[in-house]
Symmetry: C2
Subunit: 344 residues, 2 copies
Amino acid sequence: MFQSYTIKDIAKALGLSTSTVSRALNGSYEIGTETKKLVLEYAEKINSRPNPIALSLKDQKSHSLGVVVAEVANTYFSQAINGIESIAYNRGYHVIITQTHESAAREAANVQHLLSRHVDGLLVSLSSEITDLSQYKYLHEKGFPIVFFDRAAPDIDTHKVIANNYKGAFEATELLINTGFTKIAHLTNSANLLISQDRLEGYKDALEKNNIAYNAQLVKHCNHGGMVHDEVEEAIKELVNLGEDRPDAIFVASDRLTTSCLATLKKLKLKVPKDIAVAGFTNSDVAELFDPPLTVVRQPAFQIGQIATEMLIKVIESKRPVTEFSTETLDTILIPRESSIKVK
Amino acid sequence: MFQSYTIKDIAKALGLSTSTVSRALNGSYEIGTETKKLVLEYAEKINSRPNPIALSLKDQKSHSLGVVVAEVANTYFSQAINGIESIAYNRGYHVIITQTHESAAREAANVQHLLSRHVDGLLVSLSSEITDLSQYKYLHEKGFPIVFFDRAAPDIDTHKVIANNYKGAFEATELLINTGFTKIAHLTNSANLLISQDRLEGYKDALEKNNIAYNAQLVKHCNHGGMVHDEVEEAIKELVNLGEDRPDAIFVASDRLTTSCLATLKKLKLKVPKDIAVAGFTNSDVAELFDPPLTVVRQPAFQIGQIATEMLIKVIESKRPVTEFSTETLDTILIPRESSIKVK
DNA sequence: ATGAAAGCGCTAACAC
DNA sequence: GTGTTAGCGCTTTCAT
């Protein structure tokens, strides 16, 4: 069962040469029907499977995909990985997952590690800390297949799969405005990230459309995306101490940050939505159970993972070098709940 | 950078044979200091890395570990995977993750898939549906390295890493009893699973110790571990319709089931803990934010993943066949919160 | 229609 | 101390 047979075994058993067996197994037309049937049946009987390692060595493809994410234990990424696995598995690829924990140094090391493992391509969601994209640029220029998902590199022209962050942010902000909030803070991830920039734009434009002046004091960046608790607490304290500019609502723009924000508000004994309303990006599937139930912007993480993987495999298996790249943008889902209602 | 050099390239460049280069790279003592230095420096300069695929083919080790879990997008498993990755990465192994979605058929297919990929060993957490363990038995008897974590196979004598489920359940149940609840229901996963049996035992013994009669009507099994919502709703409806036996508290014994249970209670407009108190196993890191904050039994998932991986690699790398196996049991952490307080 | 042999990158037994 | 060679499992020219 686990000690698999080789074509040599089959050849010997059947009195054939290994090449004949190989060809028969691969359905080559130049093998006699008799022989082919014989080989196929015997192979089936002993349940032989080609050794993927030998195949890899032969055709210089590892049939593995490298994945770079911030954290596996994050609702968004675990769902995306689920999508990645589902496609990869069916296409005969396996997936090597690495975590950056939002560190640029680890990210660089992970990419190196994946390359040394001879992955056929890379699925990357940038760490919040990264600024130097030369590693990716170099690889991409050399024709190495890379697909970015979620957190994409702005100035590398390759395939990308992202949520419509601008729209998601716009809608969430406008929901808060339409509910009657006027001083809306924006708590977001590192400004390095394109997703942060897009979400900030959506936020700004929603304000502008509704004739609310943009106030830079109300925008706070947490460069560790909610992983460092003090950073979040600091930001929120600054916000609530703004005196007459004190926000009546917060729009949070990152998964982990959203839950960290809630935890911090709770710690500071600020009631949501009475003292301050909250709406935020998160893919948590228990947001409904929160106190209060949380208004969320949800990303189609599973599909994003699937599409990114399909794109990557397509590039990998392309006969000729790929030079045309596209960006798939998927809509987010806004789910209004009590955390963003107006309490009189 | 990604187009790596081979020892042949080095040999040619330096006017040496491939074997000399190979030996130099591996620090063989029978190579002249001069030559060794020369090779090492050159290899460093061109940043050459041994091709892991060729190594795998050579010594019949893939340096990959197969993982079988129910779902990646589950707080417990994503944390465990995090632990698995952290060890595997440092030990030069990579990890292939497969998901059963609690299906026995998928589980069997996944194991086959992993074997055909020539993984060096298996890290398995059984699906709730599985009953036939012959596949694992066969492999284990053949000497194939398998370590079970969390959901272990009762009658296979191999390494296992589990939480102290009995104690965790006992403590949670006793917490409810000490708080003043007397009719405590138990909502649990498939009875197939050893973890379910252990948790049931802990529950029963806590009742017994406190002179509360065991009532079988109060125990409900959800065979899909909370993945199938109707199953949970059905069970809860039956519980609350028990008339005078209607429970005043529920102890839930599975991660997904705990959150499903809360969602169902909410849907049925039952207030926690007023109408019914709740305590449950879960590794969610946002249980504190729930309405009400949830009393949980938390498992050291990260460490469980780490220990299981260390054990597995040890077996894989053992010179002689391993015949002595151990079971590591880690304590759970009980975190009392408002969902289990008594409201008058 | 089938077989012999080379080669993918690496290691190790065997020369010298 | 260093080179030659075979072999891990497979595919693929090149013969026949």
